[in-house]
């Protein structure tokens, strides 16, 4: 197969293509299990294989994919034909940043392949969790497991040949109840890194999940009898369970270079960030340092090499409040530097990824992290907060098309009054303007508050793509925030 792919790449190059790459997926498997109120509503397995081909011709991309690899020549011919027609409407011919030709292999860390675990064992775990969640106050209970395992072989016309084996494990527990007014409330737990070095089936630790089940049931019952969230302006202390989403939506997506350059304007949106802002824009207070770290051990945002064949990197995005970097691939850094008429980016940051063999790689988040700070543990931050809310869990999120403003609802919040965490409030929300919000960052928790959360389903692009990634974030406090609307 590899020889056939290489021959096809050479053939298309001889026809005038300036670059060709191929992602061959010998296999991709997934397994999804949902137990809802004791019913195994979903027990599905999926397997796919195929080839995706990307061709660059006269500065324009063509792409074609098929699960039928018996007609490899047809797939390459179609990709080339797609590039030829695209070359009829070019305004900035695509150039690719320099890179080294790499022969490498990457295996994501896992000890027990979840695909080899018998279905009965997985169902047994879900039953155990279902029983734990089946408590007074809980009207709906859901336990969810999702496993992905895939092999990707990347070959390009510049001599790279990279093989990756990726294993992902995602898990969620969720409970829902109705308060005396008939309003529904939810509390959930999503599996993150949890300080572990691997994420195979060994991540599914019954004891740990049982503790989380007890916690979310207890917190749901507190929400059900809580008073409504106040509607005013105050400090918000975001726990990692919501700080990860805040980071994702208003730092991660805002700093994708394809968005900044206008490549997502017809769908996902743009960014308030301009090329002139790099090195100059005060994105947040001096307490804010953010990075794209694809070298973080054991996270879905660490994948060894991106789908341009660029090795994983750890790059600053925001350094003590100042914007310094972006999430980039080979194409966009060249265009950005040319349009800015200065060298903003020194090559790709290795963040070009595709969700499947039949989708084209685009700029995707790796692990978009916030560095821990020096403001102590959560209790220390609360003690220094006069009037605030401690918030956790993602209930809803809506962000302006240039990521300039946002509205989030969280699952739970606790009032903070005169340095004390007092009681739970229900239907908590907060909203803000991105730059104003990050410049109000007044406390960043230390390493003890820092947690790597996983994201299983980040959506972007046309055709649409789902991507997996991570966020390592500490507890953060922001001041003068509108809440309760």
């Amino acid at each position: 197969m590899l020889d056939q792919i290489k021959k096809q790449i050479e053939h298309i190059q001889r026809q005038g293509a300036t670059y060709v790459d191929t992602r061959w997926y010998p296999y991709e498997e997934s397994n999804s299990l949902i137990m809802w109120n004791g019913n195994l509503k979903e027990a599905s397995f999926m397997r796919q294989s195929g080839v995706g081909v990307r061709v660059l011709y006269k500065g324009a991309w063509g792409f074609s994919a098929s699960s039928d690899v018996n007609d490899l020549a047809g797939i390459y011919a179609k990709a080339f034909d797609n590039a030829r027609i695209a070359a009829e409407r070019v305004t900035f011919p695509v150039r690719l940043a320099e890179k080294d030709a790499i022969q490498a292999r990457f295996v994501s860390p896992n000890r027990i392949n979840p695909m080899t675990v018998p279905l009965a064992e997985k169902v047994s775990f879900l039953q155990q969790m279902d029983e734990k969640l089946n408590q007074p106050g809980v009207a709906q209970r859901v336990a969810f497991l999702n496993f992905i395992r895939k092999q990707i072989v990347f070959i390009d016309s510049e001599g790279s040949e990279i093989e990756k084996e990726i294993t992902e494990v995602f898990a969620q527990l969720s409970v829902l109840g109705q308060d005396a007014q008939g309003e529904v409330h939810e509390r959930s737990f999503n599996l993150g890194q949890e300080g572990k070095e691997t994420r195979g089936w060994e991540s599914i630790d019954s004891q740990f999940f049982s503790e989380q089940a007890d916690r979310i049931v207890k917190e749901l019952n507190e929400i059900l009898v809580a008073e409504p969230c106040p509607k005013d302006t105050r400090s918000v202390i975001l726990l990692p369970g919501i700080m990860m989403l805040q980071t994702h939506e208003t730092i991660g997506h805002a700093l994708e270079l394809d968005r900044i350059l206008g490549y997502e304007l017809a769908y996902a949106g743009g960014s308030f960030v301009t090329l002139q802002d790099f090195g100059a824009l005060r994105y947040g207070s001096e307490k804010l340092t953010a990075r794209a770290d694809a070298t973080l051990p054991n996270s879905p945002g660490s994948f060894g090499y991106d789908d341009d064949g660029i090795p994983a990197q750890n790059n600053l995005l925001i350094d003590k409040g100042i914007l310094v970097g972006a999430i980039t691939g080979r194409q966009m850094v060249e265009e950005a530097n040319a349009k800015a008429r200065r060298q903003i980016f020194n090559g790709s940051s290795g963040a070009n990824r595709a969700t499947a063999f039949y989708r084209v790689p685009i700029e995707r988040m790796t692990n978009i992290n916030i560095d821990p700070g020096e403001d102590g543990a959560l209790e220390d931050i609360i003690a220094k907060t006069e009037k605030g809310l401690v918030m956790d869990g993602t209930r809803s999120w809506s962000i302006g098309s240039n990521r300039e403003q946002f509205h989030f609802a969280t699952e739970i919040a606790w009032l903070v009054e005169d340095g004390q965490k007092t009681r739970v409030v229900k239907n908590p929300t907060y909203m803000g303007k991105t730059l104003e919000f990050y410049n109000s960052l007044s406390a960043v928790g230390d390493r003890s508050t820092w947690k790597v959360e996983f994201v299983a389903n980040c959506g972007k692009g046309q055709p649409n793509q789902i991507m997996q990634l991570g966020h390592g974030v500490p507890v953060c406090r922001f001041d003068n925030v509108r809440v309760g609307e």
């Binding site: 137990m35 004791g38 195994l40 027990a43 599905s44 999926m46 397997r47 796919q48 195929g50 324009a60 991309w61 063509g62 074609s64 994919a65 098929s66 699960s67 039928d68 018996n70 179609k78 797609n82 027609i85 695209a86 009829e88 409407r89 070019v90 305004t91 900035f92 018998p118 279905l119 169902v123 709906q140 829902l176 008939g182 309003e183 529904v184 350059l261 206008g262 490549y263 304007l265 017809a266 949106g269 743009g270 039949y358 084209v360 209930r395 809803s396 809506s398 962000i399 302006g400 098309s401 240039n402 300039e404 403003q405 509205h407 609802a409 909203m431 046309q462 055709p463 649409n464 793509q465």
Partner: protein, 470 residues
């Protein structure tokens, strides 16, 4: 272009697999379902006035569902009709899996097709097979003369063919549906100022394509955005005219957290069983699931073989009842309503106001300032029990002044209840309707559209955030 498999080849393969499944399950009280999905998808994407991506995928998916007593498990593969052994292995795997699944607390219904049903009435080969050159020509015409160095074209021309076929071991009959579809989005944006205007279209047949209308709508909006004064709107309450994209988005959300019986039973609904037969929304709101609407890419049978016809949901604002998929009906002991489908065919009827086009809407005399919001970006549910959503305006909002002038408002945020937006605050709906394409391209191709009035005016809605610039 990839060769789309013929009905005969698809059904022969499925019947062969059915025979194999019957042999494999002969000694067990089991049933096996085979669901085939074939897509031939093309997408030309534009950005910065260039073709940023030109792609196609030809994919065949086979989902095999095995039932044994109250147990159910499924196995899906992306495959090829030539790989019969692989598909048979898939049948073996599904049969193996189901024995390890946990029994449901209810008896799931297994489809028994009483007759073979093939529906290709929504398939137009001319649209499915449109060429790269035609896609490019359409966009060139849609944007002709409108682009400058600063004003750039973005968008997509997505089209394709989708074939769904299904057979179960419970019956020798099969179902097959074939659709052609196109979704067009054209955006003009200012590279420096960061404003955007949009025109969109949905097509089920090639003759539905009209690049001239896209051009007219873009030109109208562009003229305002180039010549009218921008402003930050003060926070407060506004009378709002929503465009078709915004209306379709809100109707789709109602499908999710409103009248779906399973969601209601699980607590994710702002409607309750006690509201059936009662007035819930404005008497101008008439909403139905109407598979007769060709533009919605309708399923005229559901996946269980149930005939689908006109199903009223709201009539003069009175709630007529919940829709029920077979599985939810089985679980909650309700009567299925033929809604085990990949998508519904929702149609919000037009009202009494004659407003056929954007240009007429802008020119209408008005007794006070009106805010036009064509599109709601990133809608999400804040409180499902109260139907509260939040979203921002995008793609060409206008402030239509009482004196006939027009200003350009920076984007704003609405956090509102659907009960208010479709409630007594509705002023009017346009008589004219349009099919708004709601297709996504996550997962397998599933063309869908909602029929909505082109415009709907709702009074006294609150703006909770207002941008200070584009």
């Amino acid at each position: 272009m990839a060769t789309i498999n013929t009905n005969e080849r698809i059904l022969d393969t499925l019947h062969g697999l059915r025979k194999y499944a019957l042999e494999k399950t002969a000694r067990r009280k089991m049933a096996v379902g085979l669901r085939y999905h074939e897509e031939d998808s093309y997408l030309m994407r534009f950005a910065n006035s260039a073709i940023s991506l030109n792609t196609n995928e030809h994919l065949i998916r086979l989902e095999i569902v095995a039932y044994e007593d109250r147990r159910r498990a499924s196995y899906e593969l992306i495959t090829d009709l030539g790989k019969l052994d692989e598909m048979k292995q898939g049948v073996d795997t599904a049969i193996e899996l189901v024995s390890h699944a946990q029994p449901l607390t209810y008896q799931p219904t297994i489809p028994v097709y009483a007759e073979t049903f093939c529906d290709e009435s929504c398939f137009d080969p001319a649209l499915a097979h449109i060429s790269n050159n035609e896609r490019l020509a359409y966009f060139n015409q849609a944007a002709a003369g409108l682009e400058t160095d600063e004003i750039r074209l973005s968008g997509i021309f997505s089209n394709g063919a989708t074939t769904l076929a299904m057979v179960f071991t419970t019956s020798e009959h099969a179902q097959l549906f074939r659709f052609s579809d196109a979704q067009i989005t054209a955006v003009l944006s200012h590279s420096g100022l960061k404003w955007e205007v949009i025109a969109e279209a949905s097509a089920q047949r090639k003759v539905d394509l009209d690049a001239g209308k896209i051009h007219r709508d873009l030109a109208t909006m562009l003229n305002h955005y180039q010549h009218d004064a921008p402003q930050q709107l003060p926070l407060g309450r506004y009378d709002i005219i929503f465009g078709p994209a915004a209306i379709a988005e809100m109707v789709s959300v109602m499908n999710w957290i409103g009248f779906d019986g399973g969601m209601m039973k699980r607590g994710y609904s702002f409607l309750s069983e006690s509201q059936v037969g009662k007035k819930v929304l404005s008497d101008q709101v008439n909403l139905a699931d109407d598979p007769a609407q060709r533009e919605t890419f309708p399923f005229r049978r559901d996946l269980y073989g149930m005939k689908r016809g006109y199903f009223p949901i709201f009539e003069r604002g009175i709630f007529q009842g919940f829709i029920w998929s077979q599985d939810d009906a089985d679980e909650f002991k309700a009567r299925p309503t033929g809604h085990s489908v990949y998508h519904t065919s929702l149609a919000l009827a037009g009202g009494g106001k004659d407003v056929p086009h954007l240009q007429e809407m802008i020119a209408m005399p008005r007794e006070r300032d009106l805010l036009y919001i064509p599109y709601l970006h990133y809608m999400n549910i804040v409180n499902p029990s109260k139907g509260v959503f939040t979203a921002s305006s995008r793609f060409g909002a206008l402030l239509l002044r009482q004196d006939g002038s027009v200003n350009i408002p920076y984007n704003v945020r609405l956090t509102q209840s659907l009960l208010d937006v479709f409630g007594e605050q509705v002023d009017w709906l346009s008589r004219q309707t349009v099919a708004y394409n709601t297709s996504g391209s996550y997962g397998s191709r599933n063309p869908s559209a909602v029929i909505v009035p082109i415009f709907m005016r709702v009074n006294d809605l609150e703006i909770s955030h207002s941008n200070a610039s584009y």
